[in-house]
Each structure stands twice: as C-alpha cells, then as structure tokens.
C-alpha cells in the first residue's frame, strides 16, 4: 500500500545519496584538486567570493564535491565557515598599495602608472578550440615560465587612483574619513536603512548572476544614465593583523587577490554638476561582478523608483544561500498547509 505518504525517508535518502555519488563519479578518470584550483580558477574565485571565505583549496574541494554546482559549492564553504571561531580581524587594507596585475580605465587614455591590460578574455574570439584536448599542459607552462624567467623584472611602483586626480580638481564629492567599525553582516541582521559598509559587504558576497542582471537593468533604462568605469584594478593586497603585544606593530598573514572598480556618474551639486563614485570590490578575478557592484552602489546612493535603487529589494534577495535555499524548499512536502488552503477554498464555494 502506498498510503503512508513519504515514509521510509531514511532508506530513500541513503539510496539517493548513493546514486548521487555515482553521478558525481561520472567516469573512471579522476580530477585532481590541484587541477580544479588552478585550471578552473575563475570558478574558484567566484565560489570564494560568494561564500565569503578565501581558501582556494577548500573552494576547489567544494567544487569537486558537488559536480561543479555553483550554488552547492558556495553552500559547502559557507556551512564550513560557521564552524570557525573568529580569532582576529585584519587591519584595514589600503588598495592603493595593491600589487597590480591588471588595471584599465575607460575614462582616460593615459593614467598615472599606466594602463595594464593583464590577462583578459575581453579581446579573445570565443571560438571553441577543438585542439584543446591535445594540449600539453606541462610543456606550455614551462615555456611561459622560461620566457618570463629570461626577462628583466621591473620595479613595482604603486599606482595612485584615477579618482585621486579628479578629487584634487574638486570634481568628486569629498567625504569625511569614517573610521567607525563596519557593520558585520555575518554576525548581525541587516537593518534598514543599511550602513554603506553593510551594503558593500552584502553586494560583495551576492550572487554574481543576480547583481549582474540588476546592474544591467539600471544601464538599460531602469536606472540612471550609463556610468563610466573610471578604474578597474586587479591585484594582490597584503593582509595584516595587529600584533597582540604591541598595537603599533602588525603581523603579515598572507595576501588575497581582489578586483576593485570605481565608476563615475554625473550627479547634482546644487547649481552645478559633480561626479559621483560607485564602488565595487570582490575576491579574485570577477570583473563583471565588481563593475555591477559599483553600478548598484551608485544607484542605491541615488535612490529612486527602480528596483536597483531600492535598498531592501537589492540587499535582501541576492544571497546565494538564501535564494537557493528558499526556492528549493518548495520541493519539501507542504501537505498540511495545502490541506488548509484547500479547506479555505472549499469553504468559499460551499
């Protein structure tokens, strides 16, 4: 008889997981964690960013554990994050001191420090390379490393921001230095109106697809005018924690790869115009997300009738875990509430 609905849950779940493991295996060939970490690095970056945990190895493990599902990988890293005790807070990172690997400006041809194209898919033709399966990874890598080894290293010079020059000219609004501790969205609930620190944290961890779509809507007409990417920089920043025995000293604990963007929009300044800046910063190389974040930051500051200008709408609906969790819960049984719904419908028809 089948009338004991969804019982035997335990056996069913065990069998389901066994089948899942078989799907996950997929083939007799294995994929090494090191390969995922380094060959799927943009996926790794995205997972780390949306999870809010910078660990390439664990991100690669998570990706392998879930057949490369973006939402599941983020989920795994986030859940792991909950078990970790927070021991230290890093000192504020000054991204002007970034060791830059790529830097472009869509606002000015020549910028102090220069434009550095770096590695980018922007100018590739998206033609499937059918020879890729014959590629010899080790040889290729050695070739490039040999070439680089033969070159004379250049002195690393720090690049001032593009916005610094405009700020000197008084075209960009000056904000007072704000050193109050940031609102930590992982430790307390978001409240509205939200601090800018809470907004930027939420956007930095948001689902890339969600915020890219929102930013696109703002560019297309459901927002202000088309912004200009003043500067996009990608590079490494050093993380330091205060030395416990001497507040003046700090200890270097490692570096993270960031993409940072400043966008410019025209904005009212009483009788005249000024430039307003939108800011975006994300883990790893994820330029579309960083730009989208900057666009949305600016839209939220501006306010207005469109979805991207509504703080609660933007900040409450972009978290990968929250959106995917709540949507997937629709697959759970709703027998009791549906019975109640039926009862309410039937009563009005009696």
């Amino acid at each position: 008889m089948t009338y004991v609905a969804v019982s035997g849950g335990k056996e069913a779940i065990e069998a389901s997981i066994k089948l899942l493991d078989f799907y996950k295996g997929g083939t007799e060939k294995d994929v090494e964690i090191e390969a995922i970490e380094n060959k799927l690095s943009l996926l790794v970056d995205r997972v780390m960013g949306e999870a809010g945990l910078y660990s390439k190895t664990y991100a690669a493990l998570a990706i392998k554990q879930c057949e490369g599902s973006m939402e599941e990988a983020v989920f795994l890293l986030r859940a792991y994050r909950s078990t970790l005790t927070r021991n230290y807070y890093t000192n504020v990172v000054n991204t002007s001191e970034m060791r830059i690997v790529r830097r472009i400006s869509a606002a000015f041809k020549d910028i102090i420090g220069g434009q550095i194209l770096g590695a980018s898919y922007d100018y590739t033709h998206r033609l499937i390379n059918f020879d890729l399966d014959k590629e010899k990874a080790a040889e290729l890598r050695r070739e490039v490393l040999d070439m680089l080894g033969a070159q004379e290293p250049e002195e690393i010079s720090l690049c001032p921001r593009v916005s610094d020059e405009l700020r000197k000219e008084g075209l960009i609004e000056q904000y007072a230095q704000d050193d109050k501790p940031p609102h930590d969205v992982t430790m307390s609930m978001l409240e509205f109106p939200a601090d800018r620190s809470a907004r930027l944290q939420t956007l930095a961890r948001a689902d890339t697809g969600f915020i890219s779509g929102l930013a696109y809507s703002a560019l297309r007409g459901f927002g202000q005018e088309h912004p200009t990417v003043g500067e996009l920089r990608c590079g490494y920043v050093e993380l330091c924690v205060p030395y416990p025995l001497d507040e003046q000293e700090e200890i270097y604990i490692g570096e993270v790869l960031l993409t940072e963007v400043e966008c410019f929009n025209k904005a009212d300044d009483k009788e005249q115009l000024k430039l307003a800046v939108g800011y975006g910063a994300v883990f790893g190389r994820n330029e579309t997300k960083a730009i989208s974040m900057a666009v949305i930051d600016r839209e939220l500051d501006h306010g207005g009738p469109y979805p991207t200008q509504n703080e609660e709408f933007v900040l409450m609906h972009g978290d990968s875990l929250e959106m995917n969790g709540f949507i997937s819960h629709l697959k759970l049984p709703h027998y009791v509430t549906f019975q109640s719904k039926l009862d309410a419908v039937r009563k009005t028809r009696a």
């Binding site: 008889m1 089948t2 009338y3 004991v4 609905a5 969804v6 019982s7 035997g8 849950g9 335990k10 069913a12 779940i13 989920f75 795994l76 986030r78 859940a79 994050r81 909950s82 078990t83 970790l84 005790t85 930590d184 992982t186 430790m187 307390s188 609930m189 978001l190 409240e191 509205f192 109106p193 609660e312 409450m316 875990l321 929250e322 995917n324 969790g325 709540f326 949507i327 997937s328 819960h329 759970l332 049984p333 709703h334 027998y335 009791v336 509430t337 019975q339 109640s340 719904k341 039926l342 009862d343 309410a344 009563k347 009005t348």
Partner: protein, 280 residues
C-alpha cells in the same frame, strides 16, 4: 555516529551562546521578533535552519530529541534534520511525543498537549505577520513599534466582504499577550488554539530571515477575529482517520491507486499511539 571533527552541536560555543541570548530576550518580550546573526548550516536556508540553530544552541547530552515535518517523524526532511543533529551530537531521539524534551517541528503542533518539561521549536519561513500587507522590513518594524495593525484587520474585513469567509489558510496571525501580532509559522488554524496558555515553551526560529521569537508558558495567544465573526478552524466534520479512527485530529487528505479519497492523521506518532492503545 557523532562526527568528532566538529564541535558538539556543530556551531562554536560563542555562536550558540549568542543564539541563547536572543532566545532569552524573545522569552522576555513575548511575540516580539528578536534579530540575531543567523549562521549558515549544512542544511539549506528555508529548510528549517532557524529551528535547527535553536535546537543546536539548546540541546545538551541529557536531552531527548523529536523532529517532525508536517506532523510526521518519518518525512524525508525530519529524517534529514535528525540525521544532521545526530552527526554533531549523540543525543537520544524518539518518535514518542511524551518522551521528548526538545521537539523541532515544521507546520504542526503535536495533538497531545505538551508539558512544562518540553520545548517546542518551530521552523519559520516568513516570521513577519505584516509581510502580506507590507513588503518593507523598515516599515513593518515601525508598525510593530506603534502597534499599528490596521492593515491586517482591513484585510480580514475585505476577505469577509468578498468571500463571506476569512480566507487566510495557514499562518493565521495572532496577538500575543495583547501587544505583538505574531505569525505562528505555517501551522494550520487547527493548531492555533494550542498556543494559548500552554504549559510548554514555544520558540520560533527563522534562519533565512534572522529572527527568533517566543511564546512563554501560560501566555495569552488570541487568533484574530471580529466580535461577531468568531475564529474558524479547518473543518473535518464527518471525516475520520482511516488508520486509528480519530475524529478530533488534523487530517491529511489522500488518494489510493483507484482514486478513492481517504483521510489519515497528520500527527503520525499520535495515530500510532491510538492504534497501540486500542489493540491493547
């Protein structure tokens, strides 16, 4: 078997203490939604993570745990939650309502009244009772502060005018201690009266929405109704459970292979107990 790689009850002790503090505040202000720093769990947000965080923060080695989903201990989600809590604690579990000290539930209150040595923990998807009339958290917060519940009353009235019935199905709002309007989670209206002056502690956890609220023992909990139109529960008149014959329980409607309709207790543990009692 408990996985020794993780802390007892998964979360670090600081997080568990923070959740208990939020629960204490909730008990002190019945029906008020206390915000808390909801942690991510290995179970999906929207799948009971608010309830699970409460359970994890409260559970100790001496506790006996029961988990139900839609009234059933055997439902995949209930089994899954029990399995997770079993991985990070080694507390005893039970299906018998009277044996449990901590009961986590989704969408039902057990048929047997709970006692003062038991805590019932609800999983809550949308804690805000005013969300159906106002989408913005910033605004609903003020409405609670000002006890401005007119839009909900208006909705009730409009439904009467239009359909001659109050058409809210589950999640039927109630007033707690005469002060805060509260969403009892998606339990059927059938269960609402069980909230009123109960002997046990009711705790509500919404993980995704990051809220905890509570109904302490013996608190007045009144489902919204007009003086001349009384509150009405789901109606199972003339129907009974096909397994145990109960006529006073919340029933699930089902169809067999031939398409014939029949009814069965939603509280599977109660249904079993009645059958055991009858067969001696």
């Amino acid at each position: 078997m408990m996985n020794r790689n993780y802390n007892f009850a998964f979360l670090d002790e600081g997080s568990k203490r923070e959740i208990r503090r939020a629960a204490l505040k909730a008990v002190a202000i019945p029906g008020y939604q206390v915000s808390f720093g909801s942690r991510e769990l290995p179970i999906g947000r929207g799948w009971g993570t608010g309830g699970i965080q409460l359970t994890l923060s409260l559970i100790g080695p001496e506790d006996v745990l029961k988990v139900i989903d839609q009234g059933s201990d055997e439902s995949v989600n209930a089994v899954n939650i029990k399995k997770f809590i079993g991985l990070c604690t080694d507390v005893e579990t039970t299906t018998k309502t009277s044996e449990a000290t901590v009961i986590q539930t989704r969408h039902r209150i057990p048929e047997v009244p709970l006692t003062n040595r038991q805590i019932l923990i609800f999983q809550v998807p949308i804690p805000e009772p005013l969300r159906i009339v106002e989408a913005r958290e910033e605004v609903t917060k003020k409405m609670h502060a000002e006890k401005d519940y007119a839009p909900i009353w208006l909705q009730l009235y409009e439904s009467l005018v239009k359909y001659n019935k109050v058409t809210i199905a589950s999640e039927y709002p109630c007033m707690v201690s005469g002060r805060y309007m509260m969403n009892p989670s998606p339990i059927p209206k059938f269960d609402n009266p069980k909230l009123h002056r109960a002997e046990c502690l009711y705790l509500f956890g919404a993980g995704r929405e990051k809220k905890i609220y509570a109904i302490p023992p013996y608190t007045e909990v009144i489902s919204l109704a007009f003086d001349d139109i009384p509150f009405e529960k789901e109606n199972f008149k003339g129907k009974k459970c096909r397994l145990c014959g109960s006529e006073n329980t919340y029933l699930d409607e089902m169809f067999d292979q031939h398409g014939d309709r029949f009814y069965q207790c939603s509280d599977t543990s109660y249904c079993q107990e009645v059958r055991d009692y009858v067969s001696g």
